[in-house]
């Protein structure tokens, strides 16, 4: 310790040369600012990773706790396999918590650390941590509850599907927006006008696009039966490709493969508003009788829905983006709200197997609802009357539902 102080004093006259270090400038007219080192430096293996990270925590220097601005930063030093200390990082003070995650380590090396408190011209090092190596784990046990609950929900989807396959009758309530699909397609047939299907503006890596395509499969089956025209402009090439496969399959299933043409599904541009400009143009020129707006929509939702409303089309909108739902509600005749978008394809198919999956979703909702009630009641009783048992329930429940 004293040798360090001596060194610092020795270097004092020269340290002013470090021009771009603002602390270095102060140094010339102040004495050495001695600070106490941080204490209780602890290095632990980061749990549930592949063995490449060690987490460090420490108790800040007493000078940091008492005087603001005295300790400027903490320096983390790492010693690998008995080598010399390497400076790994500077951690700013005052932002707490006092911790650092050392990443990109190797499982076969041995690491030891120390942390130094740095003042404007002095560095106080802590003791070294015990040498250790990062460990790797195969399973992230932090997520065991998530796994279990997901398994229950997923399992009940499967269970109901198998039950339906065996012939169990499943009841599913009416969903207004979906009841209207047949009518909407029929109307287009009567009027001899096309049907416009807009699958949102996201690519195939969004589940809402997947949901839109599954609905497209059902809708285009009905369209093929009615022998009406469908037009689907897309803003992504992959969606165009998948859309063509979907529509083609529906026409084949309806026994009318000759009626299908690739021109039913076209790509315009990836640009959000370029696509909107084109679709708006299609709407006012082709005057579709029915417009489906299903998938992931952003700011363009209202532009499309208002134009559709203006041309007098029946509109069925649906998205899982809560911010855009009000616009569909304002301008569409029927709106599929969030979950209903995902339920639509199963509902429209009317196949018992598909309906089974909706029952599985209900199990998930039931779990969530029970958890909410139990959690809220337990925490309320626990807080109001300080019941130890209730506290335990709450701690356990939030542990279960935590997804760290």
């Amino acid at each position: 310790m004293t040798s360090k102080l001596f060194l610092a004093l020795l270097l004092l006259p020269f340290s002013g040369l470090a021009q771009d270090d603002p602390a270095g400038v102060d140094m010339l007219d102040t004495a050495v600012v001695v600070v106490a080192p941080p204490t209780s430096v602890i290095a632990v293996d980061h749990k549930y990773d592949k063995g490449e990270r060690i987490d460090l925590t420490w108790v800040p220097s007493i000078d940091d706790q008492l005087v603001e601005g005295k300790v400027l930063a903490y320096r983390i030093y790492r010693i690998v396999n008995d080598g010399g200390p390497q400076l790994v990082a500077d951690v700013a003070t005052g932002v707490g918590p006092y911790q650092y995650a050392d990443e990109d380590l190797h499982r076969d090396s041995i690491y030891s650390y120390y942390v130094a408190a740095v003042s404007s011209n002095y560095e106080a090092a802590s003791t070294r941590t015990a040498p250790m190596s990062p460990q790797r784990e195969w399973m992230n046990l932090d997520r065991k509850w998530l796994f279990l609950i997901a398994l229950i929900v997923g399992g009940s989807v499967l269970l109901f599907i198998t039950a339906a396959r065996r012939g169990t009758k499943l009841f599913v309530r009416k969903i207004a927006g979906l009841e209207a699909v047949d009518e909407a397609v029929g109307r287009a047939t009567e009027m001899g006008r096309p049907i416009l299907f807009v699958p949102g503006i996201r690519d195939m890596d969004d589940v809402q696009t997947l949901a839109a395509l599954t609905i497209l499969g059902r809708v285009s089956r009905v369209i093929a039966d009615y022998d009406t025209r469908i037009f689907m402009p897309t803003s992504r090439s992959l969606v165009m490709t998948a859309g063509r496969e979907t529509v083609k399959a529906a026409y084949q299933a309806a026994g009318r493969p000759d009626k299908y043409s690739d021109d039913m599904v076209t790509y315009y541009t990836d640009e959000q508003f370029g696509y909107v400009a084109a679709v708006d143009g299609v709407m006012v020129r082709e005057k579709p009788a029915t417009v489906f707006l299903l998938g992931a929509f952003f700011a363009e939702s209202l532009i499309l829905a208002e134009t559709g409303n203006y041309i007098g089309a029946i509109q069925i909108g649906g998205t899982a983006r809560p911010a855009q739902l009000p616009f569909f509600i304002a301008a569409c005749d029927f709106t599929l709200i969030g979950e209903e978008l995902f339920a639509a394809s199963a509902y429209l198919s009317g196949e018992p197997m598909q309906l089974g999956s909706l029952k599985g979703q209900d199990v998930g909702k039931a779990i969530a609802m029970i958890a909410i009630i139990v959690g809220a009641v337990a925490i309320t009783i626990g807080e109001a009357w300080d019941v130890e048992f209730m506290h335990d329930i709450v701690t356990w429940l939030s542990g279960v539902f935590s997804t760290r």
């Binding site: 009416k174 969903i175 195939m204 589940v207 990836d270 640009e271 911010a323 009000p326 209900d362 109001a384």
Partner: protein
């Protein structure tokens, strides 16, 4: 020449801006022209961006160039390039392979192979989001709703307490009844239907509030465009 370009630039942007605005009156040749330009320019823009950023920037720089150089060096007997550093990731070849399969669509006879990369993307999208959505939407939101309905932490006086109690009750009831609305297994009748109706009210408040919130900010875009027309172009305002 430069001065000409400066004038041309301002007029071009104004011409396009007014062309789009003319759609508000009705569909017309000016809008059709602007729309065609927009579709062409933006499709081309994304073509170029995806080529340079995704194909060149990711694949070619990250793996393709190195691999090809290496193969060429091996074939010609020249000196092989130095061993790859951390910026080279041969896994990118998988992406290129999938992309190539996708392009087979252009060959009618074997176009069906393009379903493989499609199946790959659909599968990974499904698998990836299945758990992610479940964790962040279901688990986290359910956990967040487990709040005390009344508690000493809310404050001591009745009036401070009342606010917090009502707030907590509303969140609890709203979430619960909203979930009841989404239940598919039971018709909306009786007590169940009543709760579902409460849920609908909460959903409507949610939509109303988000509408009110969003509406207000949409105006700023128009302000920006009008500022361009009247300020940058015509110089009528500062």
């Amino acid at each position: 020449m430069e001065a000409f370009f400066e004038h041309f630039r301002l007029w071009l942007a104004a011409f396009l801006t007014l062309g789009i605005f003319s759609f508000l009156y009705k569909d017309n040749p000016w809008y059709k022209l602007t729309e065609a330009i927009f579709v062409g320019i933006s499709a081309g823009y994304w073509f170029v961006v995806l080529f340079w950023d995704n194909f060149h920037g990711k694949f070619w720089v990250g793996a393709g160039e190195y691999s090809i150089n290496w193969v060429v060096a091996k074939l010609t007997g020249a000196q092989a390039p130095p061993p790859p550093d951390s910026s080279i990731d041969f896994m990118l070849w998988v992406g290129a392979f999938l992309g190539l399969l996708m392009l087979l669509r252009l060959v009618p006879k074997i176009g069906w192979i393009s379903r493989w990369p499609l199946a790959f993307i659909v599968g990974s999208t499904g698998g990836l989001w299945l758990i992610n959505y479940f964790a962040s939407n279901v688990m986290v939101q359910a956990q967040a709703t487990m709040v005390p309905l009344f508690s000493s932490a809310f404050g001591t006086g009745f009036d401070q307490n009342a606010d917090a109690v009502i707030g907590a009750l509303i969140i609890f009831l709203g979430t619960f009844s909203g979930l009841v609305y989404f239940f598919f297994s039971k018709a909306h009748t009786g007590v169940f239907g009543g709760t579902a109706r409460v849920g609908v009210f909460f959903l409507m408040i949610t939509f109303g509030a988000s509408f009110g919130y969003t509406v207000m900010s949409r105006m700023s875009l128009l302000i920006g465009r009008i500022d361009y027309l009247l300020g940058d172009w015509l110089g009528m305002i500062k």
